[in-house]
Amino acid sequence: MKAAVLVFPGSNCDRDLKRAFEQAGFSVDMVWHKDTNLPDGVDLVGVPGGFSYGDYLRCGAIAAQSPISRALKAHASRGGYVFGVCNGFQILTETQLLPGALLQNMSTRYICKPVGLRVENTDSAFTSAYEKGAVISVPIAHHEGNYQADPDTLLRLNGEGRVAFRYVENPNGAVEDIAGILSENRRILGMMPHPERASEPLHGGTDGAALFAGLAQALVAA
């Protein structure tokens, strides 16, 4: 099982994501944003958290134009798995691999704290190891995590069971408490909370570990 973690200038959760992937059994390559190709045989691409290009413009907007993002889109169109966390989720909406957008938090402040998430759908590799309706605790750490989408998109996301996680208590104003969504083929997940920060007992909770384990299991089975 091969994973790649993209590294943009300003990515700062890249090593954290690598470690979480490795714990789940993946071998991981770090891929520089100026590269034009992913390593051969990559099953899963991680788009990490951070402040790509400083995020002085719309978050993720410049990263979406990076050379590696073309390779990312090609990987996705081949049916490859993609997992975007935080800034990674923002980048996935900017590349339009996922619909909607992440706006500034309602409080206009950066928020870092553990939040409760309800697992809305277990019909994906990412969520397969959870029980539907389970409430898990995973930290958030963002300034622009307020997910918004137009009514048609929301209708589709809901109708197709593509809302993976909802906040139990909405921290940022996200529409319908949405914390993470799946692509149409269910192989791309973008989420604001950081499961890689809740994957070892020392983190104070391990509710995020099942996401990586489920992903590994699904890939082994496939």
Partner: protein, 720 residues
């Protein structure tokens, strides 16, 4: 552009006293030109030269078997075993933060991070000790919002977890807020980089962001008192760019790994001047700079401006010439400037060329070695009067008053604006005792705390100085960490006033005594003087940052919670000291009495006892402000379980005697601890029992949830 003529007014505007100017004339044997005057003023201001404090700083204990590098470099370095070292320092950015809170605080964080990674260490933890004026002062609100956003804006983007700090409010800070930024990084002991240049004719390389006009004269500004013209000083504040800093970090670490670096120094206060002089001076070499090659953000910059600019995210390096291509490629990869701007020379000269013009030619070693040094007159702080009668109060009412105070309420409103977990190694987030971060890839962890109680220091500088170190020591012990070393950030008023200098001297003596007794040498630090506005000084605030080692997380870490049925056990002697206490200040609005005395031998004994009995302790916290009441509340709140404390008078419940810890443990463990403490000759007593949903002291009681809601809502009520 013609350089201005050197006049007494120009000399004074550079913060140089007439006798200091005479010294310059003696050293160079001629009138300095404008650029040279600027260079001297940058090197000789209080901020860079420590001219008022040096005499006393030398008395601090700075050595120990654990110390790899003490004060004098960019940061201190301490051995943590297995070929690894922790590199740390704390530094103030007070004046800039008062003038421009967001950028002032942000660049304070940026500066301290650079100090750490300049030495080859990847930053793994940050803290921020913040002091603001009274909450109802018209400037406080905007300063709080600006500073907290600035700290978060920089640290969050750079990607360092903020794991601790302090927050206080007092009208003494109305005109001078304090922003003390701490950073710690991890390095391998055989891959540490220093600033001393070596080799003649070696290229001097400029790295990072371009040079602009921001911050010109900043260090001189930071060495003066404020008055009502302060707003005019805004252009001397630098602007931070955490994105560039993050790239600079990664590029520097790659560069260091490539073997290209002979020596490296960040450009902080007084930018190019200070960094170049430092590298030359430490290496016993001269430096020649050709300013035309300096990457510039603005056109037509003068030599004076380039030499004094405090533009952020810049480094100066002496390069192994054969590695130039490799080094350049790394910086191009990260889209950062890389320019050879000069070379090392054998003669003791600091030569600045701009075009064909010689803009400065000064004896380099004399710029720092002959900086003025003062033995400023000082007077002992008078002994505080005893506290007069303190009426008894309902202990829950007293606790509620503390929890409603911005000084003793929950700090979540601040910490939730900081990324406390980036790196995914944070074991304990800030808000309750020391922060703890795992050493990545090992089973070791480091604990971090920052402490000082300024009203103690004001009442009694010597005991207050000791107390700051002792509280930091206890906070490390309480998580099971062995204290390693400390950094001091000494914030005081105008040292030219003997009573202020007396506070400084007293505090240094106290800090020195405590660091020696507790084996926590000072390995780095910073002094910020002239924190006065219109003649009114801040409370003396010597912030102590301390680092401890948890050698084996599974064995040594104390990070549990108090549970139903656990005993509340108090270690250390309670005498009921209420002088300068939180209770007196917040409930009775009285600032009276002496600081609590600190028995360093007792501190050491109690600390060692906790470490020796770690496995019997479920939860542990030190007793400090607010005494037993606040310590028990914080433990109960963190554990999510109520507690019932034995009845006691105000002195027992709120007294701030030092050398004490509150422990939660099961009955059999409590019995074993009693026996062990008896053998160690240490005072120990059960003072209550955990359980239920109420927080009770004797017959007074309130629901824990209600108290938690009160505490966690205070800052939001004041500042949202």
């Amino acid at each position: 552009m013609l350089d201005p003529e050197i006049t007494p007014e120009l000399i004074a505007a550079h913060g140089l006293k007439p006798d200091e100017y005479e010294r310059i004339l003696e050293i160079i044997g001629r009138t300095p030109n404008f650029t040279e005057l600027g260079i001297f003023s940058a090197m000789w201001n209080e901020h860079c030269s420590y001219k008022s404090s040096k005499k006393w700083l030398r008395t601090l204990p700075t050595e120990g078997p654990q110390v790899i590098c003490g004060p004098g470099e960019n940061a201190g370095i301490v051995d943590i075993g297995d070929g690894q070292a922790v590199v740390f320092k704390m530094e103030s950015h007070n004046h800039p933060s008062y003038i421009e809170p967001y950028q002032g605080a942000a660049t304070g964080v940026g500066g301290i991070l650079r100090d750490v990674f300049t030495m080859g260490a990847r930053p793994i933890a940050a803290m921020n000790a913040l002091s603001f004026g009274a909450v109802d002062h018209p400037k406080t609100r905007s300063l709080v919002h600006g500073v907290v956003r600035g700290v978060g804006g920089y640290g969050n983007s750079f990607g360092v977890p903020t794991v601790g700090g302090e927050l206080r409010f007092d009208s003494a800070y109305n005109g001078n807020c304090l922003v003390n930024a701490f950073a710690a990084g991890l390095a391998e002991t055989d891959k540490i980089f220093y600033s001393a240049a070596s080799g003649v004719g070696m290229p001097v390389v400029y790295l990072g962001a371009k040079t602009g006009r921001d911050g010109v004269g900043g260090a001189t500004m930071a060495s003066a008192e404020f008055d009502d013209t302060i707003e005019e000083k805004r252009p001397t504040v630098q602007v931070g760019d955490p994105f560039t800093e993050k790239r600079l970090l990664e590029a520097c670490l790659e560069l260091m790994a490539s073997g290209a670096v002979i020596s490296i120094q960040d450009m902080g206060a007084a930018g190019l001047t200070c960094s170049a002089v430092e590298m030359g001076d430490k290496g016993g070499l001269g430096i020649k700079l050709q300013l035309d090659h300096v990457p510039q953000r603005e056109p037509n910059m003068t030599a004076y401006e380039m030499m004094l600019s405090e533009s952020q995210e810049r480094m100066l390096m002496v390069l192994r010439p054969e590695k130039e291509a490799e080094a350049r490629a790394i910086f191009e990869k990260w889209d950062l400037d890389f320019a050879i701007v000069g070379e090392t020379i054998a003669e003791d000269r600091f030569v600045i060329m701009h075009g064909n013009a010689l803009k400065a030619d000064l004896p380099l070693s004399k710029l720092s070695s002959t900086a003025p040094e003062y033995d400023r007159p000082w007077v002992e702080t008078p002994t505080a009067e005893a506290v007069e009668f303190i009426p008894e109060i309902d202990p829950i009412d007293g606790l509620k008053a503390l929890l409603s105070s911005p000084n003793y309420c929950a700090r979540g409103w601040v910490y939730e604006q900081y990324d406390t977990q980036v790196g995914a190694d944070t074991i304990r987030t800030p808000g309750y005792g020391a922060g703890v971060v795992r050493v990545a890839g090992t089973n070791k962890a480091l604990a971090f705390t920052s402490d000082v109680t300024p009203r103690y220091v004001k009442a009694n500088p010597f005991e207050g100085g000791k107390q700051a170190v002792a509280e930091a020591y206890r906070n490390l012990i309480a998580v099971g960490a062995t204290p390693l070393a400390t950094t001091d950030n000494l914030n005081f008023g105008n040292p030219e006033k003997p009573e202020i200098m007396g506070q400084f001297v007293g505090a240094i003596k106290g800090i020195g005594a405590a660091c020696a007794a507790l084996d926590t040498p000072i390995v780095s630090g910073n002094v910020s003087l002239y924190n006065e506005t219109d003649g009114r000084a801040i409370l003396p605030t010597p912030t102590i940052g301390a680092v401890g080692l948890i050698a084996d997380i599974d064995r040594d870490l104390i990070d549990g919670t108090a549970r139903e049925g656990h005993w509340a056990v108090l270690i250390g002697e309670t005498r009921g000291h209420l002088g300068q206490s939180a209770l007196l200040a917040e409930v009775f609005h009285r600032v009276e009495g002496d600081a609590p005395p600190v028995d360093l031998e007792a501190e050491r004994k109690a600390g060692q006892f906790i470490l020796d009995n770690r496995e019997m302790i479920s939860a542990c916290t030190d007793l400090s402000d607010g005494g037993l009441a606040l310590a028990a509340f914080e433990m109960a709140a963190a554990s999510g379980t109520g507690v019932s404390l034995d009845a006691g008078d105000a002195a027992t419940i709120f007294g701030e005697d030092q050398g004490r810890y509150l422990i939660a443990c099961s009955t059999d463990k409590a019995e074993a601890l009693m026996v062990a403490a008896g053998q160690a000759g240490l005072a120990i007593a059960t003072v209550g029992k955990f359980g239920g949903t109420q927080f009770s002291i004797g017959s007074a009681s309130e629901s824990l949830d209600a108290l938690v809601a009160l505490s966690s809502g205070t800052l939001s009520r004041l500042f949202d």
